[in-house]
């Protein structure tokens, strides 16, 4: 066998190994999700069976039917939770992105006193584990009487997300060459127009991804929400999962069904927006 053939075989084997490796990695990543979907469709006996039953024997949508059938008939106020989650996540995301845009732009473009100290301060807040803040927040909100309201949750999530959105959006504005805003100003724009006409569209993908991250953080957050929400006034979907636990039993199937209900909108949103996250849009702006 000549060396050419040897190398060809080696190359083929490597590409097979490559695909196999990717498959295993994807399997590990996707399996929990798949398991949740499967578990939402089959009875608890099958979920808890040992050894595990891999192929579902008894598939039904009973859990979903029960979930939406209202309190008392085995359901939970899922629509309320869903509405709460949506209102809180969307509002806090919009506010966090708006603040993140202003802050990120300021950090990327302007020089001011103690700039790096302030930036570092923002980053340090990320180092504090959220759960450590739950007690102080609980007491603060209880005293001010805003506990168990949308407002309290929105406030919490904005505070949680702002440092992150500023950091992310700052990076994207830095990638937009300063020359472009200057060129726009010479072309007749005010500072404000130059921002909206040129810099904003170019940093758009970055702002969108900051939005996704902020939304997902708020949508999925459990630890703080479980402390600050009390009733259907403000309980979010992750907190709602607990409705499936009672003193002696856990309704795994119901819980999984609710988890699926939670995942679907988040997944859809990410899917829609990620198409707009076209990288390299600034390519060709400057230099050759």
């Amino acid at each position: 066998m000549d060396t050419n053939t040897l190398h060809r075989i080696k190359k083929r084997l490597l590409s097979v190994a490559h695909i196999l490796g990717l498959f295993i990695a994807m399997l590990i990543i996707c399996l929990p999700g798949l398991w949740i979907v499967l578990s939402s469709l089959r009875p608890t006996v099958e979920i808890m069976a040992k050894p595990a039953i891999w192929i579902p024997q008894d598939v039904s949508l009973d859990a979903y039917r029960a979930m939406f059938s209202g309190v008392g008939s085995g359901g939970i106020p899922v629509w309320n939770y869903f509405r709460n989650s949506l209102v809180i996540s969307v509002t806090s995301t919009i506010i966090a992105v708006a603040i993140g845009m202003s802050g990120g732009y300021a950090f990327a473009r302007y020089r001011f006193r103690a700039k790096s100290a302030i930036f570092l301060g923002f980053m340090l807040t990320r180092a504090v584990p959220g759960i450590a803040l739950s007690l102080p927040l609980f007491m603060l909100f209880a005293r001010t009487g805003i506990i168990d309201t949308h407002f309290a949750m929105i406030l919490t999530y904005v505070a949680l997300n702002v440092p992150f959105t500023i950091w992310l959006i700052d990076g994207f504005f830095r990638q937009v060459p300063k020359d472009l805003a200057e060129a726009a100003q010479i072309d007749g724009c005010t500072r404000w127009q130059a921002f909206w006409q040129v810099e904003f569209p170019l940093a758009g993908p970055g702002i969108a991804s900051a939005g996704i991250f902020a939304f997902l953080t708020s949508w999925n957050e459990y630890a703080l929400a479980s402390q600050i929400t009390r009733s259907i006034n403000s309980k979010t979907l992750p907190v709602g999962l607990l409705d499936y636990t009672s003193e002696f039993t856990i309704d795994w199937r119901g819980m999984c069904a609710l988890a699926v209900v939670m995942i679907v909108p988040a997944l859809t949103l990410t899917f829609i927006i990620q198409k707009h996250l076209v990288g390299g849009l600034t390519f060709g702006a400057v230099k050759g």
Partner: protein, 365 residues
């Protein structure tokens, strides 16, 4: 009508002053080049004219009106950036029409004016493309097109050719010259490349460390440099410059080698005076291989060893050893010279320069 006047223009960053009160009159429709090494303040000056930098002190007038506090958009200027600064999310046509769109012009007018500019710059086939789909030279033309469309009083160019390769640079340079002939606007052009400055401009402003060293026509700054710096900066290959002491009709160099004092300077020197002698490579040539412009009296011939040669085809640069250094001479109708060979050289001293060794000012007048 848009002359540009700078009066006692100063730029400070904190306490650090980078432009030290410069004065300059740019006439209407003049093409003026600001040239100098990096950090000389030429770009800062241009950006102050554009309104992109605040003016620390002094006045800028465009068309006779002070514009110190006007934002860039109110100065009726266009600027071509070194980086082109094209809007990547817009097509070529949208880039060029952007200023008109912002000014609220109608679709038809925008289309007509963009088409007109595109025709001037051969950009018509590319109007629907994005900047990322264009080559460097095409992008530069789009940047120029964007500037033309505004029909400004003053064009500002900030090193527009720096990112192009040598061939394109020559090509676009010619286009800029044609553009000036055509649009007849005042143009201010910043570059560190003296060839661009020489070939394009009506007058050159040579800047150094935030001061203006000399303002003059390309011929002026080449033939009659006011300072040692200008003499060394303008011209390629650069002028040979070396320190010497005046002694009995001779200029004695450090090594003891000497040259006669050029006649035009004889009455202006005294014995023992320290000077800097300068002569262009064109004015030193292997005897019979150059052009002597001055009087026979000012022609000095001497035999010197060749250090190295750089053949360029139509001419050869001959590096000769003099005063322990390598002086450059230009040989027309070149013949082959070997390293170490002794060659008879003619110095055309009527075109030599002498500068004050301390201040660097010319001793011509």
């Amino acid at each position: 009508m848009a002359p540009v006047t700078l009066r006692k223009l100063v730029k400070r960053y904190g306490t650090h002053e980078v432009v030290h009160g410069i004065d300059l009159e740019v006439k209407d429709r003049e093409f003026i080049a600001l040239v100098g090494p990096s950090g000389c303040g030429k770009s800062t000056t241009l950006r102050m004219i554009a309104g992109l930098e605040d003016i620390s002190d002094g006045v800028i007038e465009i068309g006779g009106q002070p514009v110190n506090d006007l934002p860039p958009r109110s100065r009726n200027i266009s600027m071509v950036f070194q980086s082109y600064a094209l809007y990547p999310h817009m097509t070529v046509g949208e880039n060029m029409g952007f200023s008109l769109k912002i000014a609220g012009k109608g679709q038809d007018e925008i289309r007509a004016r963009v088409a007109e500019a595109a025709a001037i710059l051969d950009l018509a086939p590319y109007l629907e493309r994005r900047p990322s789909q264009l080559s460097g030279g095409q992008r530069q033309r789009v940047a120029m097109g964007r500037a033309i469309v505004r029909n400004p009083d003053v064009f500002l160019f900030d090193e527009p050719l720096s990112n192009l390769d040598a061939k394109l640079r020559t090509q676009v340079r010619t286009e800029i010259k044609k553009l000036h002939a055509r649009v007849q606007s005042t143009m201010i052009y910043v570059t560190h490349d003296q060839v661009e400055a020489m070939t394009l401009s009506d007058r050159i402003v040579i800047m150094r460390d935030g001061y203006i060293e000399q303002v003059g026509t390309p011929e002026d700054v080449f033939q009659l440099p006011r300072t040692k710096f200008v003499a060394g900066f303008i011209g390629s290959p650069p002028m040979n410059l070396d320190d010497a002491t005046v002694d009995e009709g001779k200029l004695v160099f450090e090594s003891g080698q000497s040259l006669p004092i050029p006649t035009q300077f004889r009455s202006k020197l005294h014995a023992g005076q320290k000077v800097t002698f300068g002569i262009r490579p064109d004015d030193i040539y292997p005897t019979g291989h150059g052009i002597h412009a001055g009087t026979a009296e000012n022609l000095y011939e001497v035999e010197l060893p060749v250090a190295i040669t750089e053949p360029l085809g139509n001419e050869t640069l001959v590096f000769i050893k003099f005063n322990g250094k390598e002086w450059i001479s230009r040989m027309l109708n070149p013949r082959k010279l070997e390293t170490g060979e002794m060659v008879r050289l003619s110095f055309d001293l009527s075109r030599a320069h002498l500068f004050h060794s301390g201040t660097g000012q010319t001793l011509r007048d």
